[in-house]
Symmetry: C2
Subunit: 300 residues, 2 copies
């Protein structure tokens, strides 16, 4: 089955775990709104790609791992969009959850999604209990303190923070969890797969910083220029756009190099390449380099 279709179906099945006539209808609607339609689903795709590369001998476990990772990502978007953080009215081309359902339901929807991520893992049941415990740990570490995505977001509440630590936690941690979980879901050791997620996560965060400056809000599905407005740490602000693009290229090269030798290596390399073009289109890179050359001091 096509990975995208597999992910959408698995997400739908997971949401149904929390839906019944006993549930508050607006919470159910807000939760669906937070998950569908999705973005690029890059984290669960990465998770499934690694699981496939490792043999994918228990597809229900891989599905649960991919779903858990994506639900955590959706939860973080819902809470990041809250008025007290980014106060974003748009997300994935539609109203953000708090804009559509109010702040209270946005808080609760994020909470419900975090819980549902773990419930989805537990619901796979006893046949792979050992793997599921490992997956719970991996997912929890990618999200919680000390260095998961929640901690990453919390660095925005500190007077002083290191940009690399902040980005590794805010974005890298869930990418690393995605590759580790993919391996664990297929009964493999997570350690040799973590580097791929680390590199990709860092690259993704740098791309996000570049997109915040370069993208058209309509194309991106959310407002741009937010890092500047909210005085947020950003690679584009720290390194300048040409520096950020060069950094992005180096990170992607490291990601590709880190892929262990396995049956899925070529497919994974292709996924990373496609993703890089989606994240930072070549046309932008040309424009950024042209502008940099134009403003460079003579002789440099």
């Amino acid at each position: 089955m096509d990975a995208q279709l597999r992910i959408e179906r698995a997400l739908d099945a997971a949401l149904r775990l929390g839906e019944s006539t006993a549930a508050p209808p607006r919470l159910v609607a807000a939760t669906r709104h937070a998950v569908f339609p999705g973005g690029a689903r890059i984290r669960p795709k990465l998770c499934l790609a690694v699981a496939w590369a490792c043999g994918d001998d228990a597809p229900t476990v891989s599905d649960a791992a991919a779903v858990a990772i994506e639900l955590m990502h959706c939860a973080s978007l819902v809470h990041d969009d809250l008025p007290c953080f980014d106060d974003a009215a748009m997300r994935r081309g539609q109203a953000s959850v708090h804009a559509a359902f109010g702040e209270r339901l946005a808080v609760l929807t994020g909470d419900a999604l975090i819980v549902l991520a773990f419930r989805t893992l537990a619901a796979v049941g006893g046949a792979h209990a050992e793997r599921l415990i490992g997956l719970c740990e991996t997912v929890a570490a990618g999200v919680g303190a000390p260095d998961g995505i929640v901690a990453g977001q919390a660095w925005e509440c500190e007077a002083k923070a290191d940009l690399a630590t902040y980005q590794r936690a805010k974005t890298g941690a869930l990418f690393a969890a995605a590759t580790a979980a993919g391996a664990q879901a297929a009964g493999h050791d997570a350690a040799s797969w973590r580097a791929l997620g680390d590199w990709l996560g860092e690259a993704y965060q740098v791309a996000d910083d570049i997109r915040d400056v370069m993208a058209d809000p309509a194309w991106l599905g959310k407002p741009t220029g937010r890092d500047e407005t909210l005085d947020r740490m950003s690679s584009a602000r720290a390194l300048g756009l040409p520096g950020a693009v060069a950094h992005f290229d180096r990170l992607l090269a490291s990601a590709i190099e880190s892929i262990p030798d396995c049956r899925g290596a070529a497919a994974l390399r292709a996924l990373v390449h496609a993703e890089s073009e989606r994240l930072v289109p070549k046309a932008w890179v040309g424009r950024i380099r042209e502008q940099a050359a134009q403003f460079a001091p003579a002789g440099s």
Copy 2:
């Protein structure tokens, strides 16, 4: 070991899982602030009491279950106190998390606590993998949609809600999870223990409604009169104070009656009795009944 001490130690050990020099210091501080000092710790006490009644053959699993339940409770308090919900400045006799650390860290602290609850279960490791998977499911069901405490809170965002459904989800669900988890932690079937939690949870919510009218805010450690101010569903508002007290008594009697015949039955009955006096002191009941008699129509 004394149950209270055992719980505080296990909570401290769980918090350490999310603490390191790599963690954002204010998130670490806010998370400790949300958990210590605690309230009555009635849910984890109940969980351990049931585990003990069922033999408590794997104390590390029982500890993890009790901790997971209490961390979920703490998370719900942090999010319930947010400006968009109760906007409570005080909790457990100190500043609420959002009052002390700001709204953003309060959102993140709640998220981190939910994640930590599951991480604590996973961290027990493989020796009891089957039990831990069951515990994950029980805890997730007690917290998430369709009818856990998050769903309970979400009923406050609906135009119409049934009081009993609301209360069962908002409070009962986590009590039922506490008794079910206690049994599961000791390798027993959860089903025969769920009723105790259901009854106690409902009783607790009714007591909370009574306390919101009757208690001194300093004694309670949080503001009172909030149900009226926030126009929230409440037994005291729906049944009147004497009706709410009578309802509370019936619920406690049902709770005590539901305790299965076991070695811990007497201890559990004692715990329920002590809790009932703590929740709704006899002095209040006397005052409520006196007032009711005074205002009753002649001849009634």
